[in-house]
């Protein structure tokens, strides 16, 4: 929990600090005055993932005196492709612990507050109170709306960044005269429109670029120099390698920061975003399933089963069960390639897209069709561990 200031004197810089920050000190835009502001600053990072990694590294390196880190996750192998705070030996460690170790090693002169918790409506206001600037590096809509509302209620700036595949959005919300997240997007997308594995993924360097821009904006807010990204939405497309800027306006009818506010305390954000449980409930029911073991024994018996792979071609290249590839999106126009008189087993990575495929094919009149339960991931776990998981 964030509490005390660093024990050393925050009104000046030690000889070591002067040497460490010399490239800031010799630059008039920062100088001794700016460096002392950085030393006295308290910044809370929500999330220590793809965005949090460059944020933590650059804010710590720059000498931000107190950095709070909020996360509850554990480092996973698939994080290492972009979460450059962590190394291979950190896999399995709590992110908070690994991040705190890394940042303390980078800069022992600052205070790191590891806060291992899931941010919630119950703890957000209390946590945010101890910091001057909140930086949103989360990965889901409920937390984004929670961070926004808590910042507006407390009058704290919210340095916002979000990413999707190879595109990013960056701005600063929460300034009294500036817009908030709800001014930009009054409501989140319904959970039914969550992307499948086929549409997921992120270019590893993208959160590095977006998080670094958030870090730059945070440092500028602290030292009070330059033109902050308030009232401007910066869009970045890594494929086109283009930046664009759009004007953001404060919405006078905004329920949180407008003139007639209806949201005056934190609410249930999972409910606001239409999510009931931990995971969005599957909309698909009564899908005939076959387990990987059952499929294996039937194939071993020599049964005539047709394996339909509904993933994308780039996923087929990672691993496959020698099935016939028709991506889910192409199924409606390629359905004639399938023989409804044969027994068909559809699969994808985890079983969700193939459940949709089975449902579609049932409606199209297919009767002898099953969904491979748990997809190729379950096949790797239960039948053939040489099949790589992704």
């Amino acid at each position: 929990m964030a509490t005390k200031r660093p024990a050393d004197d925050s009104s000046g810089l030690s000889k070591e600090e002067i040497l460490r920050y010399s490239r800031h000190l010799i630059m008039p835009e920062v100088g001794m005055e700016g460096q002392l502001k950085l030393k006295q600053a308290r910044v809370l990072l929500i999330g220590t993932g793809g965005l949090g990694a460059p944020l933590g590294l650059y804010l710590a390196a720059a000498g931000v005196g107190q950095i709070g880190l909020v996360d509850f996750d554990v480092v996973d192998f698939t994080n290492l492709q972009r979460q450059v705070l962590f190394g291979s030996s950190d896999v399995g460690r709590p992110k908070i612990t690994a991040a705190a170790d890394r940042l303390r090693n980078l800069n022992p002169a600052i205070q790191i507050d590891p806060i291992e918790t899931r941010l919630s409506s119950e703890n957000a206001l209390e946590l945010f109170r101890d910091y001057d600037i909140i930086v949103d590096g989360t990965d889901n809509f409920p937390t984004r709306y929670l961070v926004n509302d808590a910042c507006v209620l407390l009058g704290k700036p919210n340095v916002y960044g979000s990413i999707f595949r190879f595109e990013g959005q960056i701005t600063i919300f929460g300034y009294p005269d500036g817009p908030c997240y709800r001014c930009l997007y009054p409501e989140p997308p319904p959970p039914g429109l969550v992307p499948s594995c086929a549409e997921g993924g992120v270019l590893g360097v993208l959160p590095g670029i977006v998080g670094t821009i958030q870090a730059a904006e945070t440092l500028k807010l602290i030292i009070g120099k330059g033109q902050p990204l308030i009232g401007r939405l910066l869009l970045f497309d890594a494929l086109a390698m283009k930046f664009r800027e759009l004007k953001l306006r404060k919405n006078p009818d905004c329920p949180v920061c407008g003139t007639h506010r209806t949201v005056t305390k934190l609410i249930d954000y999972a409910e606001f975003c239409g999510i009931r449980g931990e995971e969005a409930p599957s909309t698909v029911t009564n899908i005939p399933e076959i387990t990987p073991m059952e499929l294996k024994s039937r194939l071993d018996r020599g049964d005539d089963l047709y394996i339909l792979d509904v993933r994308e071609p780039h996923e087929y290249q990672i691993c496959n069960l020698d099935g016939h590839l028709i991506p889910l999106g192409e199924l409606p126009r390629r359905v004639h390639e399938l023989d409804s008189s044969r027994e068909i087993v559809a699969h994808c990575r985890s079983g969700k897209r193939s459940a949709d495929a089975v449902q579609f094919l049932q409606k199209a009149g297919f009767r002898k069709i099953w969904n491979l339960k748990g997809g190729i991931l379950a096949w790797s776990d239960e039948v053939d561990p040489t099949v790589p998981k992704y």
């Binding site: 409501e187 997308p189 306006r249």
Partner: protein, 97 residues
């Protein structure tokens, strides 16, 4: 009037994987209608059942939000750029639509 409509990453799958589409239009409504006529799948992602633009999708003419202009009746002229900007939440695995 030829205007350019920029398709955001999460919607490109429904727009022939194109980054932008050139259409003939004099208002934003005409431009979006031309785009969704060309790519029918885009329609349900841009508009709710009542025909209104979804609240997690914003539309800009050049750098101005149409909510603060004349909404979908905002006029466009040759060379204007219309941007469709949906809400994205990703920090790790993107969440969009």
């Amino acid at each position: 009037m030829a205007v350019k409509v920029i398709i955001p990453t999460p919607l490109r799958a429904y727009a022939g994987k194109q980054e932008s589409v050139e259409v003939q239009a004099t208002t934003v409504a005409e431009a979006l209608s031309a785009v969704t006529t060309k790519f029918a799948e885009l329609k349900k992602h841009l508009f709710a059942d009542d025909g209104r633009l979804r609240s997690f999708v914003n539309v800009y003419v050049n750098d101005e939000d149409i909510r603060y202009l004349q909404k979908d009746q905002t006029s466009v002229k040759a060379g204007d750029t219309i941007s469709i900007v949906p809400s994205i939440a990703g920090g790790a695995l993107g969440l969009a639509f």
